[in-house]
Symmetry: C2
Subunit: 403 residues, 2 copies
Amino acid sequence: MRKGTLSTMFTLVPADEIERRVAAFQTGLVAASIDAALIVESADLYYLTGTVADAHLVVPAAGAPTYLVRRDLGRAVAESALERVVAFTSFRDLGLALAQSAGTTTVVGLELDVLPVAHLRRFEKALPGVSFVDCMPALRAVRAVKSEWELGRIRSAARQLDAAFAAVPGLIANGTTDRAIQIELERVLRHAGHQGPCRFRGMNGEMYFGAVLAGPDAAVAAASDTPLGGWGPSPAVGRGPRAGAVQPGTAVTVDLVGAADGYLADATRTFSLGDLPPMLAAALDVCERILEEAEGLLVPGTPWHLPYQRGLEIATDAGYGDAYMGVGSSRVSFLGHGIGLEINEPPFLARGLDHALAAGNVVAVEPKLVFPGVGAVGVENSYAIRASGPPELLTPVPGWPRT
Amino acid sequence: MRKGTLSTMFTLVPADEIERRVAAFQTGLVAASIDAALIVESADLYYLTGTVADAHLVVPAAGAPTYLVRRDLGRAVAESALERVVAFTSFRDLGLALAQSAGTTTVVGLELDVLPVAHLRRFEKALPGVSFVDCMPALRAVRAVKSEWELGRIRSAARQLDAAFAAVPGLIANGTTDRAIQIELERVLRHAGHQGPCRFRGMNGEMYFGAVLAGPDAAVAAASDTPLGGWGPSPAVGRGPRAGAVQPGTAVTVDLVGAADGYLADATRTFSLGDLPPMLAAALDVCERILEEAEGLLVPGTPWHLPYQRGLEIATDAGYGDAYMGVGSSRVSFLGHGIGLEINEPPFLARGLDHALAAGNVVAVEPKLVFPGVGAVGVENSYAIRASGPPELLTPVPGWPRT
């Protein structure tokens, strides 16, 4: 099928982006002695092809990738900058496609962190004699370094947050609920261009617009690996707001995710009707000091664990060690997380991780203090690590820098 | 940990529901010669425990299940009707937990349709000598038969749709877009109680509120296995509305999903500003005739493929065979799908499937006709199959039965 059959106005990801990404991934495949990768997950497909399809992408360790598309072929041809976009009709074709694209392949890389076992079984049947290994260490490393084009998308997502956070003061009123505020903010985000569905990697990864949580409900732990939880609408979801009442002095944490062209931006601010009680105001001040300290560490070479560790020290020195990033057995062991096409990408600013930050990494840093029965406070921004100098603040929404 | 440590007002799923489900699943495990199942996926966990946790559920072929919870243990104790809810601290504990719960286990059932390979590798390491098989045929069969309690949840989800569809006529105006209409309907659904995030089983399963699609954009195929697609906000999402203009005579398909306590209800109606052009009006009439025909087939014993087949015959006889359920290589091969905790459950009313409908099945039946460059029309309702008599219409929203 030739280009131009459909409108090409939606060839969004530029050809040079795709070429750079594929080449960097191939370098990683060679280093890992992988002959070819077979990519099937949506975020990875979008990253390497510029489009989401029901498809298999063959990336040989050298040479041009082949995009085998089940549906929709016409759209994939129109939307992807890749040259080799062909119909996928049967698993039996995979061996031939691999041979044509990559020559003799004995080691094939798969997305083992998300690929279901049933899918692997079909690959094993279709490709006898091949050994399958994990290619995600190589692909994750490439995805963790954002290009200027990608940073532009994240900045667009952050502009949606400007609109939403600006609307919060007008929604905070005595007797309203966190859930009612969140519903209005979802609408503001959508009208500002938010794409709707977002991506949280992993079998049980569920991602929504974020969460508005008022008062004690913010301190209710959830199944999700996040410092704040919330009851959620029911045990079927089990996170986010239920109906936490906003009253004078209630802390209201507003943690929102913008989403543009697949890319996410994450920020949190803490609001209240009138002043926060002195204890919570002091705790919020500690969160802000931790974020300022972390900003100074967001440079190439910083070990991933250090911002978490420094935050713990500051919280402990201030007497809030037990409230740092959650409560009891449900506290999380990170201060921040990488963000891009998914909300949970490397780098992970987490206890025990010794990797080093690099230029082009994008992280959301979210110091939060949690007080069971009372509530939670916190602040969060997304940042891009620069080759030199301080990080770029990607979420300059009101409330930061501190006034 | 004892019950009552946390508020128990959110023990939503009754104990007798959980007991019935576990017992039915155990019957399936015995029939499949599986010693115990290890369940980790959110929808399945909620179904069998009444709560969503970061957890492993051990279901022995006989005897009480053990819920091994990493987070949040306190909530799982409070929210689940299961008696044995204990802390999960390490994969090394799995062998012991299995032995205590199920005795000697040599065959363990896993959710192979969704379980990532990396997760299986950890099971293999923690449980040497065990052979792992798929337990989803057994669990899917149980989940496909809804109880009266579950039907109550689905009816609640359907009431959200009443509110949303009632709002559509007030939102359809010359010059607006499908995307703008959808954003307002999302808000109406949320205020009517919609839980927000929904579940679409599978690695790339992404579920949102549904889709409003106006004019030719409704006929743009997407990656998702759905009769209508849409450009979506960008190629990163690739389905749903972009900015299709509503003008006099434009067909606007409104396909919405309600969601209450984890359970979904699905309905579609076709709107327009003024009358539809005669060709589209005639096509919509054919869709309605197909749905009426399908209603007569929604009784125990009907082969899953038959409603699809009869719909194809009716469409073909009316001259719309090429437009039935999509266009070209991206048409889907089903007329409807089971619905419950996920949007894509059995029964699948699809070509070639000879299983028989049973009492308690819930299906969304969605005849749609698609005309490239023009638009799409269709109608959809969710139904419960009864032991005798006609099915229960679960989505009695305006526009059906036909006036």
